[in-house]
């Protein structure tokens, strides 16, 4: 066992050394080749570090805000972020990462990635392991794949507790309804973990509030138009009995809001998740009750910051606890009290300081 491990380390050192030599040969301006290899942490000159943020698309306000957060961090350390988008196509995502890793200097590279689905994370981690770049993933990973199982440069996996989010907006809605009345629930795409977890959160809240009745639950696929049409149908079915609409994301909440407006029903509590600017505006205007923010700009910056700190020697990945390497991050309920200040999501650069990196850990991903 120890024999193979030792051999592995020697091979790694050798590869790193050769890579460093090769690099110094062609780049010229890089560090002295004799210095400790990058794999052991903290030897990239700050100006050589490459920061890459990858999300599905920029048509989604949340993912757009994410990349903007990455830009804000990059600018604060005098670098620029490479923005990659893959339009929700898994093969395209893999190809982009492969390209990025092969054309740059992976030893001084940080990837902050939103994998398209759970199963996409495994090949990404494999690619990045081979190349030796630093990686932070968000939202999706298979339950049995963990950064501490021999993935030295996969710093962290960051996700959010869907049950908690579903629960928080349900509680806010029940409060706005005065603790009783009928509600309808709009679920997301049914076979996604996000849709399932958020709905469990609602069910937990319902169990503790017997005076609130779930009149109907429908799947509106996280889509605004679908939610609009389904809500209209449900209004026909249940009429004024509807006192609240629980939606698993803001797009559906906004669609439902439009349907309620068209039916001339005001005073219905509508809640969603994601804190897209339009929804936050609706909360500020009082037409929506609450939403939950996972803070896109923070996500976009924090992954890059972790890698940057590791590469500049201010963070030792090997010393991180398991809870820091796969964790639920803090999410904030946005209601009438704090909507105004969240209208334009911007990154708070203090969050990205090397000693604040794990301030938002709320618990391990079980």
């Amino acid at each position: 066992m120890s024999n193979t491990a030792a051999r592995g380390r020697i091979v790694a050192l050798a590869i790193a050394g050769i890579a460093a030599l090769a690099l110094s040969g062609c780049a010229g301006q890089s560090e002295t080749p004799g210095e400790a290899p990058a794999a052991e942490g903290g030897t990239c000159a700050p100006e050589d570090i490459q920061l890459i943020g990858q999300v599905r698309n920029e048509t989604n306000p949340y993912e757009k805000a994410w990349l903007d957060g990455g830009d804000a961090f990059a600018e604060s350390v005098g670098l620029t972020q490479t923005r990659l988008t893959y339009d929700g196509e898994s093969p395209k995502q893999q190809e982009q990462l492969r390209q990025a890793l092969s054309t740059g200097n992976p030893e001084c590279m940080v990837l902050n990635v939103l994998p398209n689905g759970d199963s996409d994370t495994t090949p990404i981690v494999k690619e990045v392991d081979n190349a030796g770049a630093y990686l932070v993933t968000h939202w999706n990973k298979p339950a049995d794949l963990n950064p501490w199982d021999g993935h030295d440069t996969w710093i962290s996996h960051i996700t959010f507790d869907g049950k908690d989010a579903g629960r928080q907006i349900a509680d806010a809605m029940f409060e706005a309804m005065g603790g009783s009345g009928g509600i309808i629930a709009l679920q997301g795409i049914l076979d996604t973990a996000a849709a399932k977890d958020r709905f469990i959160g609602l069910q937990d809240a319902l169990a503790e509030n017997p005076d609130v009745e779930l009149l109907d639950e429908q799947a509106a696929d996280f889509d605004r138009t679908t939610a609009f049409n389904i809500t209209k149908t449900l209004i026909t079915k249940h009429g004024d009995a509807i006192k609240g609409v629980w939606a698993a994301n803001d797009d559906m909440a906004l669609g439902a809001l439009q349907a309620l407006e068209a039916a001339g029903m005001d005073g219905v509590a509508v809640v969603g998740i994601d804190a897209v600017p339009e929804a936050v505006q609706a909360v500020a205007d009082g037409t929506m009750t609450a939403t939950v923010s996972v803070d896109g700009p923070w996500q976009g910056g924090i992954g890059l910051a972790m890698g940057y700190c590791a590469l500049t020697g201010e963070l030792d990945v090997a010393e991180l606890s398991n809870e820091q390497r796969a964790f639920f991050a803090k999410q904030t309920l946005i209601n009438a009290d704090n909507a105004e200040e969240n209208l334009t999501p911007t990154a708070n650069l203090d969050d990205f300081a090397c000693d604040n990196l794990f301030d938002r850990v709320t618990g391990p991903v079980s």
């Binding site: 698309n57 920029e58 048509t59 306000p61 757009k64 805000a65 903007d68 679920q187 049914l190 109907d216 639950e217 429908q218 799947a219 696929d221 889509d223 605004r224 138009t225 679908t226 609009f228 049409n229 389904i230 209209k232 149908t233 449900l234 026909t236 079915k237 797009d251 906004l254 669609g255 439009q258 407006e261 068209a262 897209v276 600017p277 339009e278 505006q281």
Partner: protein, 339 residues
């Protein structure tokens, strides 16, 4: 041996329709309509809310956008071509409408002219699809898929991270207002359907489209300007998708890039369920509209009778497949190959 056998069935091919053939055509023509009536009866029995005036309004309102798309798509399908550009064209039209009428993003306020511009933009996309298909002789599924990607790209650039919300009071009033108890979008859809019917019945575009779809080589040989009418059909379809994008924007009150997501598939399904053939030459605007109503009534009815969302999609799928089988059954002899 074989000679008499060949003479035997010959009248079937050349003669006027035999009773059996007439019977099957009847089924193909009226099958979808009977299916629609049957669905309505079943849902009315199972759910008292289904037969309310309010719900009829819901159904018509939900069907409006899809019906408008289906009218445009029908002409392309009649040609024997396919159009996959709906999502992209709608995305660009939706975002540009929202940006051209009074909105939260800029100071432009073109009002009605903005809507006309969005429809014209849709027509330009359609024209591009048509010219690429006919001029370069690239299969329409490729050109339209490419145009769709361009549309999404343009929309993404215009979107720039912040959703434009429509603040134009006239537009908002228009969306929520009603005429004769029905929402105005329903009347827009009816108008488009009527225009589609007139084009199909009384213009060369309509008649040629069917002929081209039936036998393109024959049409070319007989001197029909096939390329011109094909391009025209794509342009008309593009304009109509643009209008659909405008309708979604008016309905939702803001311009979203996702305005047309899923509608491509839904419109093709509706057209086929209604009896418009993917192989071209058969079907029409009315058939497609019946298909749209079937799909919409199904979605609405399943929610009202309380079918669990977990099985809804499967039930929809089964019914759609059954409807297509019933519609296509009498025609199966004529379809020598299925691609």
């Amino acid at each position: 041996m074989s000679a008499p056998a060949r003479i035997g069935p010959a009248p079937l091919e050349t003669g006027r329709a035999t009773p059996r053939r007439r019977h099957s055509t009847l089924l193909a023509d009226f099958g979808p309509l009977s299916a629609l009536v049957l669905l309505c009866i079943v849902f009315s029995v199972l759910s008292p809310q289904f037969r309310t005036w309010g719900n009829l309004r819901n159904v018509l309102d939900s069907a409006a956008v899809l019906a408008v798309i289906a009218v445009g798509l029908t002409f392309v399908l009649l040609l024997g071509a396919i159009d996959l550009s709906i999502e992209g064209v709608m995305a660009t039209a939706a975002i540009s409408t929202a940006l051209l009428v009074a909105n939260t993003r800029n100071d432009i306020d073109l009002g009605f002219l903005g809507i006309v511009a969005a429809v014209a933009l849709g027509a330009c996309f359609g024209l591009a699809s048509g010219l690429l298909s006919t001029g370069l002789k690239i299969p329409s599924f490729m050109t339209t898929l490419g145009i769709s990607a361009i549309g999404i790209g343009v929309a993404t650039v215009l979107f720039a991270g912040v959703q434009p919300t429509v603040t134009d009071p006239v537009v908002a009033e228009w969306a929520s207002g009603q005429w004769f108890g029905l929402t105005r979008l329903t009347f827009v859809a009816v108008a488009v359907i009527v225009i589609g019917l007139l084009i199909q019945r009384y213009t060369r575009l309509g008649r040629y489209a069917r002929a081209i779809g039936g036998a393109e080589e024959l049409a070319v040989l007989s001197g029909m300007p096939v390329r011109r009418y094909k391009t025209l059909a794509f342009t008309f379809a593009g304009a109509v998708y643009g209008l659909a994008g405008v309708m979604v924007t008016v309905q939702l009150g803001s311009g979203i890039v996702q305005a047309g997501v899923g509608l491509n598939f839904a419109a093709i399904t509706a057209a086929v369920v209604g009896g418009t053939l993917l192989s071209g030459g058969r079907g029409g605007v009315l058939q497609s509209v019946v298909g749209v109503l079937i799909v919409t009534v199904l979605a609405n009815g399943l929610v009202l009778i309380g079918v669990s969302p977990y099985v809804q999609r499967a039930v929809q799928g089964v019914i759609v497949v059954v409807a297509v089988v019933i519609t296509a059954w009498p025609l199966r002899e004529r379809l020598r190959v299925v691609k």
